[in-house]
Amino acid sequence: MKNFSHLLIKEIKELINKQLVISLILILVIFNFIGSVTKSEMKKSLAKQKIAVLDLDKSEISKNIIGALNMANFIIEEKSGEKDQVMKEVRRSDLDLLVVIPPGFGQEISNLRPAEVETFSFLRGISMSGSRKSEVVKALLQTTNEFLSNEYLKKQLPNIDPKVLKSPIKSREFIVVRDKVAEGSSSVVIGSLYAQSFILPVILMMIIMYSSQMVITAIAMEKQNKTLETLLTVPVSRSSVVMAKMLAAGIVGLISAAIYMYGFRSAFNFSSGDIAKAMSGVTPILKQLGLVINTQGYVLFGLSLFLTILVALSLATVLGVLAEDYRTAQSLNVPLVFLVLVPYFISLFADLNTMSLPAKILVLAIPFSHPFFALQNIMFGHLNLLWLGIIYNFLFMLAMLYWTVKIFSTDRVLTMKLKWGKKKVVL
């Protein structure tokens, strides 16, 4: 035990080197920069927007529309003169949007004929606030349209509610999960579940990728620096050497992933508050449908995740033995990354349950797939599939650990190489 902790400390110290610390600091700085730029753009798009309006109609209705724009978070800069001249003027200014109300607009509306309003968006780059302006104007015009048509219908058919006339059919949506039924929109429920679990696959992917990268690099560096042979002749069991490397990589991988996720969250403005806000209206529906994960569910998910990390670490250890140096270690990590990316993308864009059986078997044969689908399986009661994944990963991990320790206990730790051509042996 003394030798194991001694080895573990050395491994952690080796992994937390200057390069790793600098790269993690850089990640934080970059994410922070992205976050502050995104936040300021969001702020800009939500702030009062300054727009130019050229009213060539000067009717009561056009004045009402300008009044409504004024009320709706816009600072109106009214223009006068010829349209072409005003466009040139706006182009030279910092205004991004020009609304032109053509002559005869009010007359057309009064005569119940469709009238046009022209909006000119001046693109000076690609930004969130630029795209939002025209969308807001469109929404405003839609509201104005609604208002005008309702007024007209009220005049013509005073005893009928215009809403009933325009939408005679109303729908009530119900969601069914197994034997439970709740009233609500399925898209809203799926959206909220997605928002709640969106971050999870990213975290998962980062932990697995970081940890496996760490352990492959640790072994490859021992080989590159010619320290492995000496380490294997000291009075410490080979399993301790393997376990210390794996545990150290797991710990440092976890810390790195946590720092990465902290930066990621600050860059993309995720906070538990945001998620809670998004969930607040849907939570009663989720509870009614049994889509809330309890403590037992989280324990099962944790177990699935833990076993998957161990599988990744043991697989990476074997790959590390094959590596001759740091450079080959990098390329050996690529297949492992792909094995993580496949279930990651499938969990984001596809439904495992609707996949064909061979495709499903293929996906579930990848040990990294199981935690990606674990939460879904818990929520939708596919516990058999969840347990199958846990048992599969446990057996896979045992086999890999056995193989890894076996490799470290034999000549293969020194002679195994992923090399094309003849094997080189030092006599």
Binding site: K2, N3, H6, K10, K13, E14, N17, N225, K226, T227, E229, T230, L232, T233, V234, P235, V236, S237, T410, D411, L414, T415, K423, V425, V426, L427
Partner: protein
Amino acid sequence: MGVVLEVQDLKKRYGSLEALKGVSFKVEEGEIFGLIGPNGAGKTTTLRIIATLLTPTDGRVTFMGYDLKKHPEKFREHISYLPEEAGAYRNMKGIDYLNFMAKFYAKDEEEVKEFVRRAEKISGLGLRLKDKVGTYSKGMTRKLLLARALMTKPALAILDEPTSGLDVINSLEVREMIKDFTKEGVSVLLSSHNMLEVEFLSDRVALIDRGVILDSGTPQALKEKYQASNLEIVFRSAVQ
């Protein structure tokens, strides 16, 4: 003097390649035993087997009465191995590396300090031990590693090409370090393709070629037997 290490009919096969074809020799307590032979003769394979890095295909190795196959951990407790192309952790300071290695062998903190003090003396690196290993020259790294191998006073130090890649001055210093070390009564098994170096260092030598021991004895006895002025000529005569 008692026998510390006994190698009997040692064989090692890498696929179709027979690296060792039945190597036998004994190392006695307090002596320097040299394995000499050209590149590819089987020296490194023999040393790696004794250092528990490789498993023999056949044959027997006993060390202080322990059988290699049954008690490899006993070998690791009492031997110290210096591989030909060994390195140290580049991000560690020299002193930290010695501390790290000493802790595997020491019973307590006091003994760790004792080992490190001895290593400081053997290496002669002085204040440079406080620098990171990554900043060391090849000669300095080799001295550090040799000090690491000898600091615990192992019952048997296995040194594979101890002066490999070193310049004349550093080679001389390393040879002196090895000579001084055996004055304290411990045994050394070393290999080299530099036969003059082995002649200078060893009490007894074995000539190895293509996985077979051709002859063994004291350098003087071998020179007399083959009527040669040095071991290089002895080796050439033995091969013929």
